[in-house]
């Protein structure tokens, strides 16, 4: 029986240490020697605190006293992660389980220690890998956003030209009217009000633009999709106008909030709207209207972009969301692939369905935040 026990102690991959009521080491198995780097004769008969990190070591005797005085078990039968110390002084994480030897008087305790060093390392590596993937995705997302905005430069310049034209014209008109005496006072005031409003309009366009251009980490917050759609239209309008396309908003009057990154979700919307504009411009017979809809749905919230263009060729439907699948001469084929990855990172789904009577509906679902308002 004694030999069996010794074999068990030697074969065990985890360190097994038995101490007496004063904390003196009585048993130190082969695994313990390997893990801590001590030959057993350097440990046996000495206080177990030599195997602990400084913080634990200082408190260990106190723990024992506390246990004997109150009978309160802090570690026994519970198990916890602590820092241990090797012979060379280096500290490492272990998971520790402690049991009291039944019937032994004075008391003896068995400690089982599992070395967590390699598990910790793996965890760190996994986390680093995940972080790298996330960073790469964010970089790609940002680059896609920049390239989209690059393609939109002409339209955006035009969009800024509108308020600037209005401002310049109102100012000159007001100047002339002001010279015509007090009868024109009201008109002059109205021109000044318009000038102020149009300057703010131009500023708003620039603000939207800067938000999209900025490179920043994903920021999740509570969002109202309707508000996002309305903001987006300020930018998307440029593309629509340049192509003679009308944007129609059909927003649900009441919509649950969602959790997400506002800029990334707007990037998806912008991508879908630009695709829809391309679609209705692709053939002359299409009605030049693109509809942006929001609605509550089983999954939470749905946002859809609908066009009456030629629709999607059945031959490429299956590859629609794959990277580098494109039907456009200047397309990179990344827009929908990136959009889908953004929506999936928001725990949602991006999909396509046919629009009646013709055209496409690209839509995504996002989970609603319950109780959020």
């Amino acid at each position: 029986m004694k030999a069996d026990l010794q074999a068990l102690l030697d074969a065990c991959v985890d360190a097994i240490i038995i101490i007496d009521h004063q904390g003196m080491v009585q048993t130190f198995n082969a695994a313990a020697c390997r893990i801590f780097g001590y030959p057993s004769d350097e440990v046996l008969g000495r206080n177990v605190s030599m195997l602990m990190s400084e913080v634990h070591a200082r408190q260990h005797d106190g723990y024992l006293h506390h246990y004997f005085e109150t009978g309160e078990e802090r570690v026994i039968g519970i198990g916890r992660e602590v820092m241990a110390r090797r012979r060379d002084g280096s500290e490492f994480p272990v998971s520790l389980a402690v049991g009291r030897v039944a019937g032994a008087e004075p008391a003896r305790f068995v400690g089982l220690l599992h070395d967590l060093t390699s598990r910790r390392r793996q965890e760190q590596q996994r986390r680093a890998a995940e972080e790298a993937v996330r960073e790469a995705r964010e970089r790609l997302t940002h680059v896609a956003r920049l390239s989209t905005l690059g393609e939109m430069t002409t339209g955006l310049a035009h969009e800024l030209n509108q308020p600037l034209t209005a401002i310049a014209t109102y100012a000159r008109a007001a100047e002339r009217l002001a010279g015509q005496g007090p009868a024109q006072h009201e008109e002059v005031v109205s021109a000044l009000q318009q000038i102020a409003a149009q300057a703010l309009r131009a500023g708003e366009i620039i603000k939207r633009l800067r938000l999209l251009v900025r490179n920043r980490e994903t920021q999740e917050e509570l969002l109202d999709l309707n508000a996002l759609v309305r903001e987006l239209v300020i930018l998307a309008q440029s593309d629509a106008r340049a192509n003679g396309v009308q944007l129609q908003l059909e927003l649900a009057p009441v919509l649950p909030m969602v959790l997400g990154d506002a800029i990334q979700l707007q990037q998806v919307m912008l991508n879908l709207v630009r695709n829809a504009i391309d679609a209705v411009c692709a053939d002359a017979g299409s009605e030049r209207t693109v509809r942006l809809c929001t609605a509550p749905c089983d999954e939470g919230v749905e946002m859809g972009v609908l066009d009456a263009g030629p629709g999607i060729d059945p031959a490429i439907r299956a590859r629609l969301f794959e990277a580098f699948a494109t039907t456009k001469p200047e397309g990179t084929g990344l827009g929908l692939a990136i959009s889908r990855s953004i929506i999936e990172s928001h725990r949602g789904k991006l999909n396509w369905r046919a629009n009646a009577p013709r055209g496409s509906c690209f839509y995504f679902h996002l989970p609603a935040v319950s109780g959020g308002s």
Binding site: T154, H158, N161, T169, L177, V245, R288
Partner: protein
């Protein structure tokens, strides 16, 4: 139709732009009407109203270029000044080929636009006057008797009364009487004026 002041029509889908243009026109005492779409303009367009059209090239629905083509098909002669947010040379060329009066890029100097508007209004007034004159001449020609018409045609070809008489088989005296009636009915003070009227009328029937 004769006494009403010309109207500067402004068609732009951007409310602020068309509002500012309307105010600019009014600030120099011009009558202006601003409309948000090409369709709206076409639906309310009265070809008897003199004026000009300041037109945005790109608009949702019917574009400015499409509106110009519609107007051309209807034989409307209203001068069109295009305004565009894009330095879109091919589009400007196309618009000019289809008879646009001018093409301006946003944002523009107010005086630039006002000068063009004034020139467009002047041209509209001129073409309306000559059209009206053409119609008046045709009316007068229609009041001539067949014989008077024959006399007028020969006289304006430079034939002498004697030759006209011989051609028509009447006396020179009779030709003189017809010729006096022609001059009176046509309100012509000289043969040269009569010749110009006949040429204008022919031009007008060839290029309506």
């Amino acid at each position: 139709m004769k006494a009403t002041a010309p109207v500067v029509y402004i068609v732009d889908d951007d409310e602020a732009v068309r509002g500012s243009l309307r105010m600019l026109m009014r600030s120099v005492g011009l009558q202006a009407q601003a409309l948000g779409s090409a369709r709206e303009f076409l639906d309310g367009y009265d070809r008897h109203q003199s004026g000009c059209l300041v037109l945005d090239v790109r608009m949702p629905g019917m574009s400015g270029m499409e509106l110009q083509q519609q107007l051309n098909q209807r034989g409307a002669t209203i001068p069109v000044i295009f305004i565009s947010g894009h330095g879109d040379v091919p589009m400007a060329v196309e618009a000019m080929q289809h008879g646009a009066f001018d093409f301006l890029q946003k944002p523009f100097r107010d005086q630039e636009l006002l000068d063009r508007v004034q020139r467009a209004l002047a041209r509209d007034a001129q073409s309306r006057a000559s059209l009206a004159a053409g119609a008046q001449i045709r009316e007068r020609i229609e009041s001539l008797t067949p014989r008077e018409l024959q006399v007028m045609q020969l006289v304006t070809q430079g034939k002498a009364n004697k030759v006209v008489g011989a051609t028509l088989g009447v006396s020179q005296r009779t030709v003189e009487i017809h010729r006096a009636h022609v001059m009176e009915k046509m309100h012509a003070r000289s043969l040269a004026e009569l010749v110009r009227m006949v040429l204008d009328a022919e031009d007008a029937t060839q290029n309506p």
